[in-house]
Symmetry: C2
């Protein structure tokens, strides 16, 4: 019902659940042992987030081991949840995504694989590459505009940002090839 946007953590939870139904504890372990933990995995974040997802109908929890004191609650994706997940992941990439939530784009990509056919992943990467290159260009202009005082640190920091985006663009090209994209190898 509620159309509040998914936080990065909620998106990660939803994506993981879409791969296999699991409990909060299972999810917590994933966050603790993989770089997905970048989107944080304290119990005080995960359990409330799961409750929100359930309240919004994106996820359905079924109790196992009832009648014990510590039953396990296994969450599975609902149809609404799957639709919402796809919608969030496949939503057109914007400049804002690239500037503010680059890592969320990586998160979105990593769940694409088992949700949509390969061609769709490739178009995602194409769009990703275009936007990332465009922003690198923006940064290049900003860098050029900095006057040359004796202290280069500010400019250097900006250059680090630019390198970051350039690396992302190179990665996107390679990832496209890895997925079998054979359109124009030298764009």
């Amino acid at each position: 019902m509620d159309e509040r946007p998914l936080s990065a953590l909620s998106l990660a939870l939803l994506g993981l659940i879409s791969m296999a139904p699991q409990s909060g504890y299972d999810l917590k372990k994933v966050f603790e042992t993989t770089p997905l933990g970048h989107f944080s995995g304290s119990p005080g974040a995960i359990y409330p987030a799961l409750e929100r997802l359930e309240k919004d109908g994106l996820v359905a929890g079924t109790l196992e081991r009832t009648r014990t004191l510590r039953p396990r609650k296994c969450y599975a994706l609902t149809e609404v949840g799957r639709a919402r997940l796809l919608d969030t992941i496949l939503r057109p990439i914007t400049r804002e995504d690239v500037v503010w939530c680059l890592d969320e784009l990586a998160l979105r990509f990593s769940f694409l694989g088992h949700l949509v056919p390969k061609e769709r992943s490739i178009t995602f990467l194409q769009s990703y590459q275009v936007h990332v290159e465009a922003y690198a260009q923006e940064l290049a202009l900003q860098i050029r505009g900095i006057p040359d005082t004796g202290v280069p640190h500010g400019r250097l920091a900006l250059e680090l940002g630019r390198e970051h985006y350039l690396a992302a663009a190179r990665w996107a090209r390679r990832a496209r090839l890895a997925l079998g994209d054979d359109s124009e190898r030298e764009p």
Copy 2:
């Protein structure tokens, strides 16, 4: 008095004020027009943050244009503030910094220039490079450990992360050279 750690926003504010005393509005404009805005700059964040900094004695605000309805409050760094800023920026780089707050490290670097002599910036970059390379190596091991299912997206996402850190390492080497570091050009 209070030794709560500085948030990224507070650090950015403190750093900017260390470059020149300025008002909340001035600071807001900087966030709006430069990539520093990455650390967010809504008035609802800046003004309370400035109040906290003042309450903690890191910054001192002096009212200008009193007797008008909208006086301007110009913040300057105190001695305590300068000490705290240096302490925060020069604190040894840890693996946690690299994993969780890589962009804060860039922020710290960008303020180094006008606070410490060049040699200190170079040792900062050396440490940065070492830690960043180490984590890239960690990621490489994780990547190697992923079994080859038919869906390469997860592995590719990890590789993006690794590329990110490798780019940071390359940048650090170049930045060192730009600052005149002539120790071992091929580490």
